[in-house]
Subunit: 335 residues, 2 copies
């Protein structure tokens, strides 16, 4: 029996239960009596630790990212942190890596820190769709605190998702390439995440719709995304022939630019290149790289707004935020 169970049985939010327990005067007498009667019925003893701290005075949100050195992640955390601070919440960050075991361990660890809410940044937390149980730990966490996922979708009570339409964005960008006469479009990724599989699905749909073959030769899974590594791997494919490259992040796209430069290919005439995330890397490259903006800033902002609403007892929240991506046109494409 925890505060969430009491809230459920009382038909009120945890914030209201907390206010009743802390003797706040902001609760109506009727609500107070309802909550107190449930607490008595269930013989509920509030967790000493939580009570000692004053449950709602921690004002701390846990954030988990796979790797804070990744620019997408660090930018997202920066935005989350600033916006949470505006609402009076501190954040605790933990970096989980990508393994199932570590993702579960870090989630348990942060929950044990008596956080008020949990935000998971990145589609790796929605699993690979291979096993429905791989996201069970997120639903478990949802029994303790509200959980929000940035750019990933997981179903569960008290679990909220947000997605940026990666599938449609990849589809539309590949259609743009085809409309410009590109026929051999290379798909490059270093990930097997939900987000990467959505991008691949959009890419393949665009090819199929335009009666182009979906070829294994034009679909390369990389081990890493570091630009020199990507360049060197591509140079090893001696029979590689493509007139466009779609990369699932900007670091890979920079590697593709370097590959084209070594091969003496003109960008975009001989080969068009599209990156993903619209990061600083896409601007540092020469030529600057056309890139899909996943709107992570807006997703983070809206997610914090919704988290605060949930913590304040509002139940009227969309379970899955959805924002369309934007294609930022630069000099590696001829549109």
């Amino acid at each position: 029996m925890n505060i969430y169970d009491i809230a459920k049985l009382s038909g009120v939010s945890i914030a209201t239960v907390s206010r009743v327990m802390n003797g706040s005067e902001k609760v109506s007498e009727k609500t107070k009596q309802k909550v107190m009667s449930v607490i008595e019925q269930e013989d509920y003893t509030p967790n000493v630790f939580a009570q000692g701290l004053g449950l709602n005075t921690m004002h701390t949100i846990g954030i988990i990212v796979p790797d804070i050195a990744d620019m997408y992640m660090s930018t997202a955390v920066s935005i989350l942190e600033k916006h949470l601070a505006e609402h009076g919440y501190d954040c605790i960050l933990s970096c989980s890596g990508f393994s199932q075991e570590q993702k579960e361990a870090h989630t348990r660890m942060l929950i044990s820190k008596h956080i008020d809410g949990l935000i998971l940044v990145g589609s790796t937390y929605s699993g690979h769709g291979l096993d429905e149980h791989e996201t069970d730990y997120i639903r478990e966490a949802g029994k303790q605190v509200p959980v929000f996922i940035i750019n990933g979708e997981v179903e569960g009570d008290n679990v909220y998702s947000s997605v940026c339409g990666d599938r449609k964005a990849a589809h539309d960008a590949v259609c743009d390439l085809i409309a410009q006469g590109r026929r051999k479009i290379l798909f490059l990724t270093d990930s097997l995440s939900y987000s990467a599989s959505e991008k691949r699905a959009g890419y393949e749909e665009a090819l199929s719709e335009n009666s182009l073959p979906v070829s294994g030769d034009l679909n390369i899974k990389l081990q890493r995304s570091e630009p020199h590594y990507v360049r060197d791997i591509l140079l090893q494919y001696t029979k590689l022939s493509c007139d466009a490259i779609f990369a699932t992040n900007d670091s890979i796209a920079v590697g593709a630019v370097k590959y084209a430069n070594v091969k003496g290919l003109d960008i975009p005439d001989d080969v068009s290149i599209i990156g993903y995330n619209n990061s600083l890397l896409s601007i540092c490259s020469e030529p600057e790289i056309t890139s899909i903006d996943g709107r992570s800033g807006q997703l983070c902002h809206d997610t914090v707004d919704n988290l605060i609403k949930v913590l304040n007892g509002c139940d009227d929240i969309e379970k899955c935020l959805s924002l369309p991506c934007q294609l930022i046109k630069r000099n590696t494409t001829d549109f």
Copy 2:
């Protein structure tokens, strides 16, 4: 009276006091009696919160950075987090921004989270050298937990510093430029931090040693480091004439490359460019940028090792770690 005072009066580490309080058998009878007698003399009642948690079971280190979206910071935090995890410590991250008020507030906030140690990342925490009191809050924090600064120097009890020799690195790099015949070397920075002022001092020393004038015209303080912003600012200086550019971070150096490209200047023949931090940005640029590696990875690694030693009661720690920088030669210089 807190556990640090008890440790001081007993002449042992806080870890030992904690072990005595928790009834650990790892403490000699003699030490135990010494600590217990101080506790009795001083009528010390351990903080209920700390005791309830088991003082040394939090295993949490606070980390403060000005801005996690900055690549230097996010890389450093990633390394700190991974290495702390290897030692069984979780981390709490907080982003303070650069204002004195916020740096103080975030330090107080993290201390209130009952952390075992505090790491401040970035030379902004060593102040501007304008007022000795601007680092008082760090010495205050040192009264509660050991404080470690990455790439900054602050004197105080229980405060440990680390520096990477920015002054010498800048001096040596500028000497290299002069040896290659460069005479009008532009210094570009967006910061007034300790680190930036050290770089400037090294730059000016190199000029003076080589009987070159230290000119205000070749010393530009930028508001931001975003590449397009830097390029556009430089283009506004219509009378700017330089044959080399020394930038205090890689993002500024990328802006300098873009400036040279717009002006039709050959890199490195017409203008040599040196960046700082050896970040991914220096590799994404075309040409790739010669950059000074501040060895932040090693500084972070060694800092965690020292922090763990202090937490384990070792007093034999250097107060200031010092590592020399490395110049990573790429294609924007002719050496």
